[in-house]
Amino acid sequence: MKQRPEKFFDEHGNRLDGRQRDEMRPVDINIGVLSNADGSALVSYGKTKVIAAVYGPREPTWRYNVLPDRASLYVRYHMAPFSTEERKSPAPTRREIELSKVIRESLEPVVMTELFPRTAIEIYVEVLQSDGGTRTASITAASAALADAGIPMRALVGGVAIGKVDGVLVLDLNEVEDNFGEADMPVAAAPDLGLITLFQLNGVMTLDELKEGTDMALKAIERIVEKEKQALRESATEVEAL
């Protein structure tokens, strides 16, 4: 287990990993990394790495998932046993089940499920390496993988976390800042539509901090979604003749 650092900022006001307080970790997005999936994406936020695979629309694996008027979204968020510092049991935990729901609900507003009644769209998110911000990276990866699968969407979604450490708001928390900070606020949004699809807050913030943090997050999400768009435009698949 990592120790609580004595200070979260050095004498220049930089963070432990050398970032400024409103600086993201390097974001990298790769599209179409899995050939067996209908759509896939590998996303890394610094050391955090997640892979998302999308299948469908197809007949639901579980019959009770059938909805008469739209497709059902199924999300499974899972952390690989080797993704953390100490081995994580591969069995789904309460946290993973909850995060699966959180990720699903942050994608539901943008996926055009009404076009495919009685089918299911399945999204499998696997955390390969965890260093904080896995849920937000998962949302970005799932959104890119859905677009790669050709599933109609109203807009692309991206996510980022805002935190408070030593009373200072910081962008894109890593694990140490998340574990020993005072607040963690994951946000996901579709900047094209001005739509916030996920907003959580764990910890304590003043109203002003909340407003400032939201602005910081939305600006960062704009940049993340821009990267997502660039990756999708450059993805190798050529236009298929119909």
Partner: protein, 203 residues
């Protein structure tokens, strides 16, 4: 090439300029946006914008040609397990296989069946068929009305052997049984390869 590609959510125009075509939508403030990664194809005479997707959705769409296996016949309805999509022009070839199971339904009208006829003289369980998709909503309605459409592989209903096409009928090489089907011309040319292990033939 990549510069003209657009992604979901990108603005194509406004409601007043264009009608929303394929793979586009109009948002709550009247802005026309793309719903997929693709290339915009505006039609200025008809004021419609379509977006041609870079990657086709891996599911049956209206008008696509599919290959599947009849797995059940119930009260003149044939239920088909859809395997994947094919293209018949210029020559038959596979486009892609579906990742999960999808069900299609054939009705007597869409087989082109005479009312006095029995569905069993058109298709039978374990037949591999080429069909056209008539609706993009699950369960997918299929049609066999078409030049190239029909049964391409059939198994003998007496001994289970894969039958050979002969004229307009199938003949069993093992027991000599002759059976009638709505046969596709592709049955004799065998231009479309399928994985026969999926039929679970007795060997």
């Amino acid at each position: 090439m990549s510069s003209e590609r657009i992604v979901p959510g990108e603005v194509l125009g406004v409601e007043e300029e264009y009608v929303d075509g394929k793979n586009t939508y109009i948002d709550s403030s009247g802005v026309l946006r793309s719903a997929v990664v693709g290339v915009p194809r505006p039609n200025s005479s008809q004021k419609v914008i379509d977006v041609e997707p870079v990657r086709r959705l891996r599911a049956p769409l209206k008008g696509s040609t599919v290959v599947g296996m009849v797995y059940e016949i119930r009260e003149n309805l044939a239920f088909v397990e859809l395997w994947g999509e094919v293209s018949l022009e210029p020559r038959p070839r596979w486009l892609f296989e579906y990742s999960g199971s999808l069900t299609g339904v054939l009705t007597p009208e869409q087989i082109g069946m005479d009312r006095r006829d029995d569905i069993y003289s058109y298709v039978r369980p374990l037949d591999v068929i080429i069909a056209r998709v008539m609706s993009s909503i699950s369960p997918y309605l299929l049609s066999l009305r078409g030049q190239q459409l029909g049964v391409i592989y059939a198994t003998c209903s007496k001994c289970g052997e894969l039958m050979n096409p002969s004229g307009s009928t199938f003949v069993c090489p093992r027991c000599g049984n002759v059976e009638k089907r709505k046969m596709s011309p592709l049955a004799s040319s065998r231009l479309l390869r399928i994985d026969l292990r999926r039929l679970a033939l007795p060997h």
